[in-house]
């Protein structure tokens, strides 16, 4: 049985090299590709043609939901479900509700940003095809890998291999799925 191909990976030595390679691959028309790097590199998503993440908007939405939940939980409990006169204060004594409302806002936004990020990144996920690279361990250490996936429309095993080799990488490797 022939093994299925995930893509072709090329390894580089520095952030500058991988940005240059990513730019060339983008302008050559490759779309289904990603870079695997040991630390965040500011210009890299741009060079790969990746869109800006929408995480911030999701978090903003959840923050508003959190604030409303926090406030109306207290409002409902104090005015409808169990009205209790404490010190002659009005039932909807909203200044007293500010802190819990605030903490709910923070709680919702923090956990949304953390968990949404993990979810969109497909984590937890013990397996990723890039781990099939012979030296995949170097990615988290000090190497920078560009991988053009076989799913890409322009992907052609020999041509893409030649293209990657022309970018002057350390080596080009076929990565199984």
């Amino acid at each position: 049985m022939s093994k299925e191909l995930f893509g072709l990976a090329a390894e580089f030595n520095s952030p500058e090299d991988i940005i240059a390679a990513a730019k060339k691959a983008s302008s050559a028309g490759y779309k289904k590709m990603d870079a695997y790097v040991p630390f965040p590199i500011e210009d890299l998503p741009n060079a790969l043609g990746q869109k800006e993440t929408r995480l911030g908007w999701v978090v903003l939405g959840m923050a508003i939901i959190g604030a409303l939940t926090g406030f109306f939980m207290q409002y409902y409990a104090n005015t409808h479900y169990y009205p209790l006169n404490a010190g002659g204060k009005p039932m909807n004594s909203w200044p007293n509700f500010v802190i819990i409302t605030f903490e709910f806002t923070i709680l919702f936004s923090a956990f949304t940003s953390g968990l949404f990020m993990l979810g969109r990144n497909g984590l937890p996920r013990p397996y990723h095809p890039i781990f099939n690279m012979e030296k995949s361990g170097n990615i988290t250490n000090d190497k920078f890998v560009l991988c053009i996936e076989a799913k890409d429309q322009k992907f052609n095993l020999n041509k893409t291999k030649d293209f990657l080799a022309s970018l002057n990488p350390n080596y080009v490797e076929e990565v199984e799925l």
């Binding site: 007293n96 903490e103 709680l107 923090a110 984590l123 937890p124 990723h128």
Partner: protein
């Protein structure tokens, strides 16, 4: 390991990406039996103390709150003093990781991980105190809104319930922030691991992090948002704790300056504790080229600045007591300074006011022995501050007929002493099993250093 000279730059120049990994991972990758002797010795001291803590907790639960010195009128005694003390320490960790992240202070990078761990372990101790202080700790969940057969809700108007939400949010968000930061470093340790147990251990913790550029983009945004929400969170938590006092009518507590000055005090105590932990850590792990003199000096500056704010708070409290014209307020502050417990106030001024003044001099700020000594003094001073606010205020409130006194018991002291055992046990396990330095962030710093020339970092 080679000796590096002391430097005031963020990191010593000439670091490589792989070199950072080696530095960070070396202490974790050692064989169990090659763990340095100081680690075993420290653990063998910390563990019995943690045992004393556990024993005190069991004794408390089986015998009731009466084993403490708490009485009427001093119903809030050691447990609340220690609770505020520990949570204040925690705040510097969040401040370093969140606030300095937002202000793009690069010097945070070497110490944020360890400082966040300090936060978590301090919050463990702090968070348990109010629960243990409840009298019936096993029903602490009554503070939370949950569906129950009695059809009851907690009293949302009470600052004590605000506490639950503030501390609960703080503890869980701090843990999340810390863990999210650790994921890429766990992946790096997974890929370096030599034996199968370590590979398995770090693979599980890393959640399968692949390091893809898209993942990093989302990760960076999520991390920034976590920092952005942690900043107001840390301010709100200690403000809420201050409101526990300020919302009451007790002279000495009912004071609008309490929230900001509690926050400053928390940061003050926290940076002192950061120094207490970092000075030995950088020495025993040979991290002097990563946690440089620059970090220590900046922490010292923070300590001096917040310390002066706290001093201003003391002065303003006394002034407002006099200026209020209220007899009870005036008497409370008079007795705070000249009364039976006046010694605590003057010691507090000595530790928190006088002892930090040498920090104006650079030669003191760059001397680790001095810094360590001053940090210990400040920690004692901040404990005394809470003692003065909580206990001394309670002993003499309104009617002389209801005045009282407070004497700590053995269990008051053993529980407090035990919290150090809990803290340091967790701390020692942390520095042995988890990367104490954020290696992926350090690599980013190395990249910056390489590509933007070797300019001094402004801080």
């Amino acid at each position: 390991m080679a000796k590096f000279q002391e430097t005031t730059r963020v990191i010593v120049p000439g670091q490589t990406y792989a070199g950072i990994d080696d530095i960070v991972a070396e202490p974790l990758e050692r064989d169990l039996f090659k763990t340095p002797r100081w680690w075993w010795i420290s653990l063998s001291i910390a563990l019995p103390i943690a045992g004393l803590w556990l024993f005190s907790v069991i004794w408390l639960i089986t015998h009731g709150i009466g084993i403490f010195g708490n009485n009427q009128p001093v119903a809030w005694a050691y447990p609340i003093v220690n609770f505020v003390w520990w949570i204040g320490i925690g705040h510097a960790g969040t401040l370093i990781s969140a606030v300095l992240l937002l202000f793009r202070q690069q010097w945070r990078t070497s110490i944020n991980r360890a400082a966040e761990a300090m936060t978590l372990f301090a919050v463990v101790n702090a968070g348990l105190y109010p629960i243990l202080h409840l009298g019936r700790p096993w029903v602490f969940y009554w503070l939370a809104p949950y569906p129950n057969t009695q059809g009851l809700w907690p009293q949302f108007r009470s600052p004590l319930d605000w506490d639950l939400f503030a501390i609960g949010t703080y503890a869980s968000v701090s843990a999340l922030f810390w863990y999210i930061g650790l994921i890429p470093d766990f992946a790096s340790l997974r890929d370096r691991a030599k034996n199968s147990f370590m590979k398995w251990f770090y693979a599980i913790l890393s959640l399968g992090w692949s390091g893809s550029a898209k993942a990093w983009q989302r990760y960076g945004r999520a991390y920034l948002i976590l920092g952005a929400v942690s900043f107001p969170l840390v301010l709100s938590v200690h403000s809420t704790i201050a409101l526990d006092f300020a919302v009451s009518q007790l002279p000495g507590w009912n004071n609008t300056i309490l929230p900001p000055y509690f926050v400053a005090g928390a940061v003050f105590a926290g940076f002192a504790f950061v120094l207490i932990l970092m000075i030995p850590l950088r020495k025993v792990y040979g991290l002097k080229h990563v946690i440089t003199m620059n970090h220590l000096e900046n922490s010292a500056k923070m300590m001096l600045a917040t310390g002066m704010i706290v001093l201003y708070g003391y002065a303003l409290e006394l002034f407002m007591g006099w200026y209020s014209g209220v007899e009870f307020e005036r008497y409370t502050y008079w007795s705070r300074v000249f009364g039976d417990h006046g010694w605590a106030f003057w010691l507090l001024i000595f530790f928190n006011g006088l002892m930090i003044q040498p920090l104006w001099f650079k030669s003191v700020r760059t001397n680790t022995k001095w810094l360590f000594f001053i940090a210990v003094m400040v920690s004692i001073g901040m404990w005394l501050e809470r003692f003065v606010i909580v206990i001394v205020s309670l002993t003499t409130d309104f009617m002389p007929s209801s005045w009282g006194d407070f004497h700590a018991t053995f269990w008051d002291r053993s529980l407090y002493f035990g919290t150090f055992g809990v803290f340091f046990t967790l701390w020692l396990l942390f520095i042995r099993l988890f990367p104490a330095i954020a290696s992926s962030e350090m690599k980013e710093l190395v990249h910056h250093d390489n590509s933007h020339g070797h300019s001094e970092v402004h801080s």
